[in-house]
């Protein structure tokens, strides 16, 4: 590390299921430079100060979506957040809100994985094209309708930003609904019928109260709040039986 090395205090909310009844705060002094991320700070702790601290990470460059955590109370990717932003103060890292803590900064995401499956995150054509019919064609304008929603990396910052999910864990939630919309909005997909129950359910789009924080914290500009709230309109039109006349692809299956 460079000569101009400074030291910052990192508070980590620890939870060791075999010994702790509830989470406790543990403090570490971590040397850092201008380009040290919070994730690198945690890696320093694990390598040099306390090997028992647990956290998830993989790519270090905001692609894999593994290292989301609460940093000073805000859901952030720790690889994309830098220690210098908190200096000369200290910072506190905590497992993502609204998820059960498995250990230290590691949360259980089984609930989300189940919800992700439930929205059928794949293209459902009315009739699969044969090889002779060739590929599915799409214009750039048609691609624009879903591209931003396809940028989701399942980091779950949006769930940690959503008080509705914290209060009603049954809520299908921002990322799953954004991905649902990613497929519904795809001109190659005709799966509204297969996904409508998830959208229209009490725990579907209607559980959203448009706090809007999910879209603010999203590191990939997916804007889940937009996906959810335009589907409130779709859900209403579907209820009155007029949606099938309005879908750009013609009748919904």
């Amino acid at each position: 590390m460079a000569d101009a090395e400074k030291t910052i205090e990192i508070e980590v909310l620890r939870y060791r299921p075999e010994q702790d009844r509830e989470p406790v705060v543990q403090t570490y002094q971590v040397p850092f430079t201008d380009d040290t991320s919070v994730l690198q700070g945690l890696q320093y702790i694990k390598d040099y100060l306390d090997g028992t601290v647990s956290f998830r990470w993989s790519c270090r460059m905001a692609i894999c979506g593994s290292c989301g955590m609460m940093i000073d109370g805000k859901p952030k990717l720790s690889c994309k957040t830098f220690l210098r932003e908190y200096y000369p103060g200290k910072l506190r890292v905590e497992a993502l809100s609204h998820f059960p803590i498995e250990r230290d900064l590691v949360v259980g995401i089984d609930d989300f994985i189940g919800k992700l499956e439930s929205i059928k995150p794949y293209i459902i054509p009315r009739e699969a094209r044969t090889l002779e019919q060739g590929e599915y064609l799409q214009t750039p304008a048609q691609r624009d309708q879903y591209e931003q929603f396809s940028s989701c990396i399942n980091c779950l910052l949006c769930y940690a930003a959503c008080p509705q999910y914290g209060l009603n864990p049954g809520f299908i939630g921002p990322a799953a609904l954004a991905l649902l919309h990613r497929y519904n909005a795809d001109s190659r997909d005709e799966g509204w019928e297969a996904r409508r129950e998830v959208v229209n359910a009490e725990d579907g789009v209607w559980r959203c109260m448009l706090v809007g924080y999910c879209s603010e914290v999203c590191p990939k500009a997916v804007d889940p709040a937009h996906a959810i709230n335009q589907n409130k309109v779709n859900s209403t039109l579907d209820y009155f039986g007029v949606l099938k006349f309005l879908l750009p692809k013609g009748a919904a299956k």
Binding site: E18, G73, S97, Q145, V211, G212, Q230
Partner: protein
């Protein structure tokens, strides 16, 4: 045997944890003033149906300092509510494109704010007989 013992954190006081949640609660609470104002207005319509004397009594009641105080607060609350309503409105619309470019959310909100201001001024002018 599984050693898992997941810890679920309580949600009590969740809206005090983040200024974003505080603003959300203020936004939602501001609708209460709107509702009370609407009820008061409906009472006025009802009193009008009962004749001139009843309507005048309702008007007199509105001149009570408490009523004026409430309407001052309600005006602020409804103003904030309308501001936030237009701010989130673009989230409910499909993606809109003009000339191949997507219309930014802030433009859609700004159109709403302008329409709201214009409508308010027109109503004010009509009521004042300008």
């Amino acid at each position: 045997m599984s050693a898992r013992k997941p810890y679920v954190r309580p949600m009590a006081g969740w809206w005090r944890r983040n200024p974003v949640f505080m603003r959300y609660m203020v936004r939602e609470a501001s609708a209460v003033f709107l509702a009370i104002y609407a009820v008061s207005l409906l009472v006025g319509v009802f009193r009008l149906s009962q004749g001139a004397a009843a309507y005048d009594a309702w008007l007199a009641a509105l001149r009570n300092p408490l009523a004026i105080f409430f309407h001052g607060i309600a005006l602020l609350a409804v103003g904030y509510h309308a501001y936030t309503w237009w701010k989130v409105m673009p989230k409910t619309l499909p993606m809109l494109h003009v000339g191949g470019r997507r219309i930014p959310e802030i433009t859609l909100s700004a159109v709403g704010w302008a329409a709201w201001l214009a409508a308010s001024l027109i109503v004010y002018a009509l009521v004042r007989g300008l």
